[in-house]
Amino acid sequence: MPTDDDLTTLLRRGFAQATADLDPAPDLVHVVRRRHLSARRRRRVVAVAVPAAALAAGTGFALAGRNVPNHTPVAVPPPSAPTTSVAAPRTTQVTSVPMKPASYKVVLKDHSAPPNCPANATAPVGKSENPAGVWYWTENGTCVFIGVSWADTKPPNAAPVQIDGYPGLYGTLENGVRTIYAPVAPGTNDFHPRGGWVVLTVSANAPRELVVRLIVPAN
C-alpha cells in the first residue's frame, strides 16, 4: 500500500498534469469588469426602486385591507438590499468600459396583478393588467401609476432625456402626460425581436427619475 508521501507525490503530479494546459481567457479582465458593471447596475435599480416604495408603505398609507379581492402582495427584497448600493460609483467612471448602444428591459413585469393604485393595497408596489403598467407608493405617500407599452418607433418630437445612468432615453411632455421612450435593441426582447421602444407614461407632475425605476439597462 502506498504511504502518504507516495500518494501526495502522485497527487501533485496528477494535479499538475491535469491542469498543465489550462489558462484563463485573455480577455478575462474585461469580462469580469463587464459582468461586475452589469451586476452593479441591477443592484442599483433594485436598491433604489422597490425599497423606496417599501419605505412609503411603511408610513402606513398602503397597509390596510388584506382581504382585497384580486390582489396579491408583491415580494419585497429583504431590508439589507439597499446597503449594496452604498459603494455605487459615479457614472463618469463607467466610461472606462466599452459601451454598447443603450438598450433596456422592464423590471417588475412578473409581479402579481392587483387593481390599479388600490387605496387599500397590502403591498407597496404592483402590476396592473388593464391598463398595462405598474403602480407604487412613493416616499411622499402618493400612489403613482406608470403605464408600460410598446412602440416600434419613437415620435419625431421626442427629445433626448438626460438622467444619470440611463443613456439613450427620449421623452415628451404633452397634455399633462410625461412619456419616456427607452430603446430596446434587436434580439433582446422575445416579443419584439426586431427591437423598438418601451414606452413609459406617467402624469406630468411625477419626476422623470421615478419613471426610470421601472427599467434596467439590458446590455
Binding site: L11, A18, L22, P24, V32, H36, L37, A39, R40, Q93
Partner: protein, 170 residues
C-alpha cells in the same frame, strides 16, 4: 475606492486567475464550470475590493470553494463528470494511466470538502494553517479531512491493484 478605475485589481486578476482557474477545474471537474466559477468569484472580489485589497487571494479562494460546492450540489441533476472522462484533451498524452484512470477520478469522487483540502494542500501548496483559513475551519479539521481523503485514495489504488492481480491470474 472604485474597482473599475483600479489597475491593481486588473493586476490581481492577471496574476491570480491561472491558479484560480486550475484550482476551480480540479474542484469542479469541468472546464466550463471552472471558468464560470472563476469569473463569478472575481466579480465577488471586485465588489469587495476596497475592503479586501490587502489580501484578495484569500477571499478569492474562499469564493471559488464555495461556488464549487454549490456546483457540486447541482451536479446530482446532471450526468456524472470527471476530469478523466470529460476533458481528456487537457492531460498530456504521456500521462500516467494510474493518474488518469484511477487517482484523478477517485479525487473527483471525494466529498467536496476533502477534495478542496487536497487541492489547496497539494496543488496550491498551502500550509495546514493557510488551508484552514481558506476553508474557514480549524487546522484539526484540515488534518482529519486530509487523512480521510488520502485513505480513500489509497483504497481506490488498492482496488485497482487487486483487479490487475486478478487479471494476471486469469
Amino acid at each position: 475606492m472604485e474597482v473599475l478605475g483600479s489597475s491593481d485589481f486588473d493586476e490581481f486578476v492577471r496574476e491570480s486567475s491561472p491558479g484560480l482557474l486550475r484550482a476551480a477545474y480540479l474542484l469542479t471537474g469541468d472546464l466550463g464550470h471552472a471558468e464560470d466559477v472563476v469569473q463569478t468569484a472575481l466579480i465577488q472580489v471586485a465588489r469587495k475590493w476596497p475592503r479586501i485589497r490587502d489580501e484578495p487571494t484569500l477571499y478569492a479562494r474562499r469564493a471559488i470553494i464555495n461556488l464549487a460546492k454549490n456546483r457540486w450540489r447541482d451536479r446530482s441533476r446532471r450526468p456524472r463528470e470527471s476530469i478523466a472522462t470529460v476533458e481528456p484533451g487537457y492531460a498530456p498524452p504521456d500521462t500516467n494511466v494510474l493518474l488518469q484512470q484511477v487517482l484523478l477520478p477517485a479525487v473527483m469522487n471525494l466529498p467536496v470538502r476533502q477534495r478542496a483540502v487536497l487541492v489547496l494542500r497539494y496543488f496550491q501548496d498551502l500550509s495546514v494553517e493557510q488551508t484552514a483559513a481558506a476553508l474557514g475551519c480549524s487546522t484539526g479539521t484540515v488534518k482529519s479531512q486530509s487523512h480521510h481523503a488520502l485513505n480513500k485514495l489509497r483504497e481506490a489504488l488498492g482496488e485497482r491493484a487487486d483487479l490487475e492481480e486478478n487479471d494476471h491470474a486469469n
